[in-house]
Symmetry: C2
Subunit: 415 residues, 2 copies
């Protein structure tokens, strides 16, 4: 078996900067999936693969694959996504794809044939920025995508998803066939920026990700009585806006009590004018927790406090689910290996649960998967200000490379 070659982090960062030069710039990343700039990003990825004599290959869902054959199969897959939100950050997604390429490049140029085949994957439409459906390509691969749920989706200009897919040579009716590649893979690793402030606050350059939180996203409509701000005494009001305000504060407390996250980023009033008591209010609660029992308890309590807050002001309330997903824990052995790789590179041993979803969550339904995070400056992401110091970027890349090499060197836990 060949010696494990070290990943060239400086080259990976240089590739990211060149990608940003070609597909981003002043206004931020513009690699929205299924569009011209995203295709340019993939063209650049194709150029980089060609440097090491690899050619990309696409599956039925538009995911891009490249394989560096090894001594054994199935493959160890490494990847993330090149697509971005509009005016997004240069690192979100691209960081993991370029690092995956860095691992293939290290073996291809300096390590000889790897002990196990390496697969690079660039998942299609992780962000769902155009049609509102995140994790499109990875969920098609995992078989969790329900084609009928997305068939009618249209973008802001009214273009239909099936037509836009067809422009990219993807046939909606066949996207689940991407799952036929599952058998070629043994495990999946992904490097990503944290997109939150935790690691920066703690001064930790690399960390293992233990899994992704579950999410309960629910809409509450509170109905009171619109009334004149000047002629309706306080004691005769049925103010739906104040009921929603009360509920929002109590939802926050539920998030804290359960060590989860509870966000009320939407609070809309009707009629929404200065001279009228709000007759209607819409409140959306987004609840996240890694533990399924805690998440369920949060939801039960949130429903109760909204109902209570509405009744306290003689308002009615209705709830409907917008979206939900169960918590997805990553593979214990891979998480331990990821912690060891991070400790090796940065001397720190930290694991955290991702509060955002990633393609790895979809893949983890099928096979062992794990992730490595590096810090985000000020916790910012999905914005042109998204950034990470070169030092932390390099640490993350090196930890990811070390993790891949650990798994390649040790048949377990890929057996």
């Amino acid at each position: 078996m060949a010696a494990s070659p070290a990943i060239d982090a400086a080259r990976v960062i240089a590739d990211l900067r060149e990608l940003d030069r070609r597909t981003g710039g002043e206004g931020g990343a513009q690699r929205v999936c299924w569009g011209d700039v995203w295709r340019e990003a993939r063209d650049f990825l194709g150029e980089l693969l060609a440097e090491i004599d690899l050619a990309p290959d696409r599956d039925e869902a538009g995911n891009l694959w490249a394989y560096l054959p090894g001594e054994a199969d199935p493959a160890l897959a490494l990847g993330s996504h090149t697509d971005s939100v509009p005016n997004g950050g240069w690192l979100d997604g691209a960081y993991g794809v370029m690092a995956a390429l860095g691992v293939l490049r290290a073996w291809s140029t300096g390590g000889g044939k790897p002990p196990r085949t390496l697969a690079l994957v660039d998942w299609a439409d992780e962000e769902g920025a155009r049609f509102g459906r995140s994790l499109f390509g990875s969920s098609a691969f995992a078989g969790s995508l329900r084609v009928d749920d997305v068939r009618e989706l249209r973008d802001a200009e009214g273009a239909a998803l099936p037509e836009v897919l067809a422009e990219n040579d993807v046939e909606l009716g066949r996207v689940l066939d991407a799952g036929s590649r599952r058998g070629r893979l043994a495990a999946y690793l992904e490097l990503h920026i944290e997109q939150g402030p935790v690691l920066e606050r703690e001064g930790i350059p690399t960390a293992a990700v233990a899994g992704c939180v579950g999410i309960e996203r629910h809409r509450f409509r509170i109905s009171g009585q619109a009334a004149h701000a000047g002629t309706t005494p306080m004691e005769l009001r049925r103010d739906a806006g104040l009921a929603a305000a009360d509920a929002a504060l109590r939802i926050e407390a539920i998030g804290r009590e359960h060590d989860g996250m509870a966000t009320t980023g939407v609070l809309r009033l009707e009629p929404g004018i200065p001279t009228a008591v709000a007759g209607e209010a819409e409140l959306i609660a987004d609840l996240r927790q890694a533990d399924p029992g805690e998440l369920a308890a949060m939801l039960t309590e949130v429903r109760a406090v909204v109902s209570d807050a509405a009744e306290a002001r003689e308002c009615g309330s209705e709830a409907d689910v917008i979206w939900r997903i169960d918590p997805i824990p990553f593979d214990d052995d891979l998480v331990i290996a990821a912690r060891a790789a991070c400790a090796q590179v940065s001397g720190t041993d930290r694991q955290l649960t991702s509060g955002a979803l990633h393609d790895a969550a979809e893949v983890a339904r099928l096979m062992p998967a794990a992730m490595v995070f590096c810090p985000s400056i000020d916790g910012l992401s999905h914005a042109k200000e998204e950034n990470t110091s070169d030092e932390d970027l390099a640490a993350g890349i090196e930890a990811f490379g070390a993790l891949a090499n650990r798994l390649l060197a040790n048949g377990e836990p890929l057996a």
Copy 2:
């Protein structure tokens, strides 16, 4: 001196129904000032005046006047406004104009020459529905309108106020000349629906109005940090939306504690999406109280709680005044006379402060003024559902007629 003739309430109600038939109907009143339907309403008023051999006369601000000469001058003025909000109620404004006409009709047809000249006035653009400037005609008459403040106003279609006024033969630069008629008037009386739920709840068909509340309307902008709902732990958030929610609940408490009204009908979040902590929030507080000291105290406390609520979440806050008006008490003697007239008609003795503004508030800056209210069913107004029982409408009209006759019969307090 002639005997005081009783007003014909049934005829006044019939006139109102005919006005509604001509200018309102299923969708509600459409007498938005400066438009065709409003002009049709005034044409109808002209027809009714012609029946008693009076011709309308307009001042420089577009207010419509008619004078029934009496034994003495200056005149006792009676009026309200024919204009309405879009899809508004059939009674708001028109009720008082038709009742004023009823008083002139009673004297003209059955009472001989009144002891004092009677002036009917239909104020222009009380609602401000098209350009957002309420009490246009009455404030021009009172001299409180600042022409430079309204010169740049445009309607929703972009039409400029000065041009729309010109279509109605009103020259903006001359509207304050309407004040030259002030000397012709001794006092002003106005009948109006309450537009709130108080009288209906108390079962009182007519009441005297002691004055209009003062209003402090202020906008607060709270600045925190927009952040990802999944990657930002609760303890690291600077949630501007929750700061605004907290402030709104505390503003409500201030309204109750000061026996005033405090409304937060506008609460807007940015970015306002389910997956982001709100980085910015806009909150508008509308505060009303009849006592100037209480109103000032409310404003001081509201500013403090917004600032506190923001600081508690490490947010900044800024405030700016949108609009303010001092409380306007009506003339003590006229209010006493109005209570006596209401007691005479309905056997109840109640006075209340109007939480909405009326033309009478502008006129009260110059001369003794008072108002009479009748109930609004369910407190509704500015909506097609606005209504009052025929019995209560008649009681209000009769109390208003009795009040006018009291003042005509007794030189005081008009001397």
